[in-house]
Symmetry: C2
Subunit: 397 residues, 2 copies
């Protein structure tokens, strides 16, 4: 018996644990201070009424023999028609034509962004942006893949572009990015698509934050770019779009046009999912199907608008202070440069002690995150305003 | 770019597709006949009222800011306390003491029975019963593992016992078994536990059907056997216990005592799940937490009793006919020998044409399934009675 020894190469991440520990210690030492967390990575607004109503109806369906639902309708995509139709209509509004068979319903993009690797050889080289959501890195370490990085920095506004001298088989792109909030234009993504097609590589495009995009020049789906169906898998999520972090629903698009090694990746993924997955809750799916209805979109847009306004409060503050940042406009994340050449953790301590505001040190997202700091828009408007007033008072001195 | 070429070694399974196609063809040719399906592998009774009520409450929680739930409570096990406590109490009633940290909440046992392999080296040899649930085989083919079989047959009543001359690192056991319905006694399982501990192997024990067991000599959990915490991972599901096939909830037990290659498998699995999974729906978990309450157990026991009575109708019929079978008493599955030395598919056709009853050919579950046939108890009582009367009339001639 041998364990998967690649697991021993994983580094323990103490990022959020240390943030939590330092915050708790400060609170214990200063019980009179009101500490505000601009570090929240989870949504805080409740589900939209249209989603709630659809879920109640679905629960009632499960209570009666005539309407009870067992295993999902199809062992490959597992999607109920109501959900698949609403996803197709949402894509159509973005100018993207897909077919039902291209779409796989899952319990969330995080599962799929690791599980999708099952269909690829462990011999492949993976290209991952730095900084980025740490799971991309860890899931590939677990599989023993060779990893190279696309270097993001202030110089390229945290939007690295492809380099033909770098050979890669699998390319992760997250746009709008976590943690930097930076979002690619369609023209920039076209360069990535062309690079992937030249290399015979596959792009894993994480579109979890696409609903925050508010500029037609920026991509909301990689399939808005010509040639993407021949090289890209798109990972989508209801988590940030509709507050589903605790409900768990996502969808992954593997176009039938995507062929590698003579094999249809759509068929390989269908086989993977039918063998190692058994679908997403009927109740969850009915809730998700309500998201892209007229009523649902109106309600979730209001929620996204609330978070977007918080982001604007933060970026307005940084604009006044003349601090470099990315994100915030098309993302719930604002990625600011630490003032006075502080390291990420130095600024964390400085902000906690002097403004009683908690953020997330950028160095936790990769080596290029050092000297940067992530603020999020998922708090309340009142807290966000107060935190920014304190930051202004502290850094505007 | 290379795909995972192990996928090309997978055989397409046409079992259920062919059953469906032949049934549809017969129906089209004989619209006047009432065809009864004793091939249903899915539950058909609705969710218990206690579960429905808990789910409605949970949906309401998601509608209000004060009670809204985002990401699950813990990035390793993802279980809410109410659910973990109810699982611990259910184990306690079986005489098994576990701790919360041993239990991982998932979206179902099928996901975990494949995903758990991530923590083991692809070099390991896997021992799989034949016949058995085909996913065990396929997930290991995908990972390129060497596979050997524990041969089940009429001779050992489809309960193969360990053989010390066979070297294995990972051992799948499903008890009560799908498709044979055969269930190990605690004494028989002890032999497997001792074998695994001698070999330094890990048992993956699929307990999905444990709630059908109605005899204290038979195991409901492998942890009822001494030494199991040192070698066994138990995969549990609400699917058949509480009709959750369309709701998706399971739990996997990895005791802290389980060490292989110097590593805690509990910690490896925690790392796998925190990296490649993001928890199970809060609504689902609250529904599941209601299953093992006093009210919930009473209601699901009534449902299980209904299915068990159907199984008895089938086994009584086979007893009268003097046909060898396993299962049915502690399982929703009855595994019968095809009469007259027919092959599985010959008997399928014979039964469909002459009794208008549909079952599942045993040969679809492995080479040792040839000449056997699976009937299930998940239909209605009326249909089960009528189907058995027809079988009696046909085979009792």
């Amino acid at each position: 018996m041998r364990i998967n020894e690649n697991f021993l190469k994983l580094k323990e991440s103490y990022l959020f644990a240390t943030v939590g520990k330092k915050t708790a210690e400060y609170r214990a030492a200063h019980p009179e201070k009101k500490v505000i967390r601009l570090s929240i990575g989870d949504v805080t607004l409740p589900l939209a009424p249209a989603v709630i109503a659809a879920m109640h109806r679905a629960v009632d369906d499960m209570a009666k023999k005539e309407t009870f639902k067992g295993y999902g309708p199809d062992a490959t995509c597992y999607g109920y028609d109501a959900l698949l139709d609403s996803i197709l209509s949402s894509y159509a509004r973005k100018g993207v034509a897909l077919e039902k068979g291209d779409i796989f319903i899952s319990d969330g993009a995080k599962s799929d962004c690791g599980n999708i690797l099952d269909i690829f050889s462990a011999e492949n080289t993976v290209l991952i942006p730095d900084p980025v959501y740490p799971a991309y890195f860890d899931v590939n370490v677990m599989a023993g893949r060779n990893i190279v990085f696309a270097e993001a920095s202030e110089k390229n506004a945290f939007l690295p572009m492809p380099d033909d001298t770098v050979k890669a088989d699998i390319i992760y792109i997250c746009s709008p990015n976590n943690p930097t909030g930076a979002a690619y234009t369609k023209a920039q993504l076209k360069a990535w698509v062309d690079y992937a097609n030249r290399q015979g590589a596959v792009i894993l495009y994480d579109a979890a934050y696409e609903y925050f995009v508010n500029d037609p020049a920026l991509a909301r789906s990689i399939y808005q770019v010509e040639g993407a169906k021949e090289c890209a898998i798109e990972l989508c999520s209801y988590s940030k779009t509709a507050g589903f972090t605790g409900v768990r629903c996502g969808y992954t698009v593997v176009p039938k046009e995507l062929i590698r090694g003579g094999a249809s990746l759509n068929r390989l993924w269908a086989r993977r999912q039918s063998t190692k997955f058994n679908g997403t809750s009927y109740i969850t799916q009915m809730g998700a199907a309500a998201v892209f209805t007229e009523e649902g979109e109106k309600q979730i847009s209001a929620n996204i608008g609330y978070y977007r306004n918080n982001a604007k409060i933060i970026t307005d503050c940084l604009d006044r202070l003349g601090i470099f940042y990315t994100g915030g406009k098309h993302s719930p994340y604002v990625w600011m440069k630490c003032p006075g050449n502080m390291t990420s953790w130095e600024f964390f301590d400085y902000l906690l002690e002097n403004a009683n505001v908690v953020g997330t040190p950028g160095s936790g997202f990769g080596k290029n995150g050092e000297g940067f700091f992530r603020l999020t828009a998922f708090g309340t408007e009142e807290d966000t305003r107060e935190a920014c007033a304190r930051i202004q008072a502290l850094l505007g001195k």
